[in-house]
């Protein structure tokens, strides 16, 4: 039997700069990081397994097509997750939820992009707007790709329960986990922009989270149903949550 035969030692390649306290060499030091990323699947794979390579590629002059690909992936993945969200209420929500989620995330990213660029300039970074845009696109892409991973779980729950608060809470938890990993990527990316951020990035992260959370209320209903596509009344997201729980 081959089970007991000696095999060469196999250690999966580690992900630099993720969990290790090892020194953080400049991007591109490793020749593998200079290999261009082609295709959509390769972009997702690189984001998950070789984040430094993606960060290096985003800093190149020709990063435009890569950023476009990332944005397309983000829109597609958020739309697919949106369909899963829509299966809870069915009907109009099957197309309304994907549209709202994809558009909401893109708009949230665009709204927050200028402030992030300004923060980076204030902290002494030489980063171009395109590089910052690339990092925001990566943040959205990583978030939505992870949401796709959560989609089967969300689907099982959405077919079982009738409780809007329970489904809303579940989607929020999945969004929070995805956002955590997305923001971690963004933070790591910024350390390579020679930016001494201090509290600037933390403030931006807080703003981004608030914007996305408010977007869920501004574009409601996403999980439940309503008579109109847009909400008839303006509300702060905390008030909306409290009302939903009553």
């Amino acid at each position: 039997m081959s089970d007991t035969s000696p095999i060469p030692p196999f250690i999966p390649p580690q992900i630099p700069g993720q969990n290790r306290p090892a020194p953080n060499p400049p991007l591109g030091d490793n020749p593998g990081e200079r290999v261009p990323i082609g295709g959509f699947v390769a972009a997702i794979e690189t984001m998950l397994r070789e984040p430094r390579r993606l960060m290096y590629q985003l800093r190149q002059q020709s990063a435009g097509s890569l950023i476009l690909r990332l944005l397309i992936i983000a829109v597609l993945c958020s739309a697919i997750y949106g369909v899963v969200v829509g299966t809870f209420s069915r009907g109009v929500q099957l197309w309304a939820a994907p549209v709202k989620i994809a558009a909401g995330l893109l708009v949230a990213g665009l709204i927050c992009l200028p402030s992030l660029y300004i923060f980076s300039c204030l902290s002494g970074s030489q980063a171009r707007l395109m590089e910052v845009f690339g990092l925001v696109a990566s943040l959205l892409t990583l978030m939505t790709v992870l949401l796709i991973g959560f989609a089967p779980v969300a689907w099982v729950f959405s077919q079982s329960t009738n409780s809007v608060p329970a489904m809303g809470a579940l989607h929020l938890v999945f969004w929070a986990v995805s956002t955590f990993f997305g923001l971690r990527f963004l933070t790591t990316g910024f350390t390579h922009l020679s930016a001494a951020f201090d509290g600037g990035l933390k403030v931006w992260i807080a703003i981004f989270l608030l914007v996305v959370l408010q977007m869920t209320t501004a574009l409601r209903p996403i999980v439940g149903t309503a008579e109109t596509f847009w909400p008839a009344e303006k509300k702060f997201f905390v008030s909306h949550w409290i009302e939903s729980l009553k």
């Binding site: 039997m1 196999f10 580690q14 993720q18 969990n19 089967p152 099982v156 329960t161 409780s163």
Partner: protein
């Protein structure tokens, strides 16, 4: 030829149960469809036997249904979380591919299912000792509570042991105990989240006092496991 196949399968199962990191690593690294099929077959058989014992208290048909549903829960959980687990591993610092992740988790469940098969005679003994399902044995009777808790405890123990067998392998791959622990905890959390809900959807496993024996209850897509637990806590705190 058939005898030889049985012997080979038996040896493979033993390799899996010993859970030596080198052997497990070989199973994951060298993708062989035969091993994958063996894992699926062992899961179906092991969990199926235990499920049949669980359901046998109520009725032979319930034994058949639970014998089908318990392996189904395991396989659906493995498949449902496959993509997510493969994404979480590299994000937490362990650069494993999709197929590797799938195989590792399937092996974990296989070990748990084989353990459950081993517990089946004990579970059968407990079921045999339980008073038969009559008007005197209700949902609130201590015998039913004991049966429920014991059967669930066996499943929980097998699940935990299956995962603990996996831990040394993850530690070798990641090179760090913290990374291995994080990946294991992330996988466990997601498998628990989805697994409990799939169990909820596929209920009843032992019996439903208000219904005849059936594969799925009429309310299989109503409510969720966590809402019910939350509601029970709420009733306990605010009666």
């Amino acid at each position: 030829m058939r005898t030889l196949t049985c012997i080979l399968c038996h040896q493979q199962i033993l390799v899996l149960l010993r859970a030596e990191p080198d052997s497990l690593r070989d199973w994951v690294e060298r993708w062989q469809p035969a091993r994958f099929h063996l894992c699926v077959a062992a899961t179906v058989l092991g969990a199926g036997i235990y499920g049949a014992v669980m359901g046998s208290w109520r009725d032979p048909w319930q034994a058949l249904y639970t014998g089908i549903k318990l392996p189904l829960v395991i396989l659906l959980t493995t498949l449902g979380n496959a993509a997510l687990n493969a994404m979480l591993a590299p994000l937490l610092g362990l650069n494993l591919g999709f197929r590797h992740c799938l195989m590792v988790i399937l092996m974990t469940f296989t070990i748990a299912a084989i353990m459950l098969a081993g517990f089946s005679p004990i579970a059968a003994f407990i079921v045999w000792n339980m008073p038969p399902l009559t008007a005197a044995t209700g949902l609130t009777s201590p015998e039913y509570g004991f049966l429920q808790l014991t059967l669930v405890a066996f499943i929980a123990y097998a699940g935990v042991m299956g995962n603990l067998c996996l831990a040394p392998l993850l530690r070798i791959w990641s090179g760090r105990a913290v990374t291995a622990r994080n990946v294991l905890l992330a996988w466990l959390t997601m498998n628990l989240l989805l697994g409990s809900q799939i169990c909820w959807v596929l209920r009843p496993f032992i019996w439903d006092p208000s219904r005849p024996v059936e594969f799925l209850g009429p309310e299989f897509l109503r409510g969720s496991f966590y809402e019910t637990v939350f509601e029970a806590f709420r009733r306990l705190i605010f009666p």
